[in-house]
Amino acid sequence: MIKTLSRSQTSGKLFLKFFLLFFLLFQVLNVGAKDNRGKKGAPEPDLKVGERLYYGLISMGEEANACASCHTYYTADTINWNPSALEMAVVASEMDLATFKSHLLEPSGGVREKVHANYSLSDEQLFHLHGYLKELAVDGVPEKALSINTILIFLLLGVAMAIALVDLFFTKKIPYKVIHILIILFGLSYQGKVVAHQMIDLGRSHEYMPDQPIKFSHQVHAGDNKIDCMYCHSNAEHGKSAGIPSAGLCMNCHMVVRNGTNSGQFEIAKVVDAYENNKDIEWVRIHNLPDHVYFNHSQHVNAGQLDCAECHGKVEEMHILKQENDLSMGWCLDCHKTTNVNFLGNDYYKVYEQLHKDIEAGVRDSIKAADIGANDCMKCHH
């Protein structure tokens, strides 16, 4: 199940890559034209050439992969354990050309040695590539292009419907009115669907799956190594938010574990660096609720004794964490309507005398969360 899912995603990704490549090629040509006019005298790296090299548009040797194929711009969708383009650029920009060359062409150890073995780059090419990476480290990764298909189809349908209407009333070129009607019906239903979906998605982030500063894999930690959720997110037991573990907590293990299952030393080194050099790690929040919603983890995890997976899904199977549920109000309410309360096991609920009597009398066999006011507005909106 999961495999097929990822395959279909890969094919989608492939298409996107081609598209992106094509798009970038176009852009590269443009950028090159602009940036070529360097000052005379001091040699200036040709950024265009550098970028082309990075994308593998200029050959770097037999069977040599493009830099961009391993050190991608964006990590989302599928996990790529290699350092990202930006991270590479930051590292490279701190090196002089010679070090850069030796790191690139004669790396030591592990996968890197094998993959980088086939590269043959001239010093000039290296100079350009280095220049490009330096530039990239400053400018950052270009923004992802937005998908405009939906908007395009939406607008085209609008035009088609307008034409159909005009033809229906005035020009009357098409003899069969069925065609007009079909066009309008199809257009309206498609547009309606798009609008409805857009409206539902407004402020929602179902399946949100952003890049994180560190390629932390829940699959490796919670899945393979079976670390309990509460070890890191202990605050879920007694606080409002589950909390993101401090770097100090990471170091409990990573004092020793310095070599990652998939990522080598690079990712773990970031945690160590943050811990040792007092740097913050800026995680990207995935599960966000609107400001007017009050949600308390301890209510659900501790008092309600819910399993984390009920809301967060099978986190232990996610390399890149994503938002499993849409976290909509309807989703909350539905769960409240169907989830049993640990009614007899918690003395707090003694206050519901009538319900206890009902259970004794057999009128009810269970108490749902909604029966004791879980769906009151002010339980979450105050």
Binding site: L168, F169, K172, K177, H180, L333, N375
Partner: protein, 173 residues
């Protein structure tokens, strides 16, 4: 494509029209259509049109609207999410009356109007043929369909009952 031929003639007054129709009916001439600038009283009886079924359509739609209106409100308040508003019971029937009534009227009105338009084949884009633009002004027109190439006979019979401007129209439909 089929071709049809009609003969038309008009009268300047509604009384003349009714007299003429009766005369034509006596002659067993089938009247295809009568077109008038305003609803001529009693014309439908003369032409022996059966009573319109629109009222029935309106009634059925009204009943549906009523049921939907009441049912939906009752469902929302008792099944979907029963909320306590001002201590009223969830099934607070008096509160449902206005919306139920409005929906009844709305559904019935839509049924009537669309029933009328559809049964009369009227609507935006409808390309009914106007044989005489005076019909919407002051002419009371009779249309006779030419079958079996009896066009001349029909023209004559029309003229004989006093119709003015008797003409032949060929129509592709």
């Amino acid at each position: 494509m089929e071709e049809k031929t009609y003969v038309s003639g008009y009268f300047p007054d509604d009384k003349d029209l009714i007299v003429a129709i009766k005369e034509l009916q006596e002659k067993n001439v089938d009247i295809a259509d009568v077109r008038t600038p305003f609803p001529v009283h009693g014309l439908d009886k003369v032409l022996k049109y059966r009573r319109s079924r629109l009222p029935r359509a309106g009634f059925v739609a009204g009943v549906i609207g009523c049921a939907i209106g009441f049912g939906f409100q009752a469902w929302v308040f008792t099944q979907a999410w029963p909320l306590n508003f001002g201590g009223k019971p969830f099934m607070s029937v008096p509160s449902f009356i206005p919306v139920t009534f409005e929906l009844t009227v709305l559904f019935a009105a839509f049924a009537l109007v669309f029933g009328f338009l559809i049964s009369s084949k009227l609507g935006p884009g409808s390309d009914n043929i106007i044989y005489d633009e005076g019909v919407t002004d002051d002419r009371f027109q009779i249309l006779l369909e030419v079958k079996n190439a009896n066009g001349d006979a029909l023209q004559e019979s029309l003229q004989s009952v006093g119709a003015l401007g008797v003409q032949l129209h060929e129509v592709k439909s």
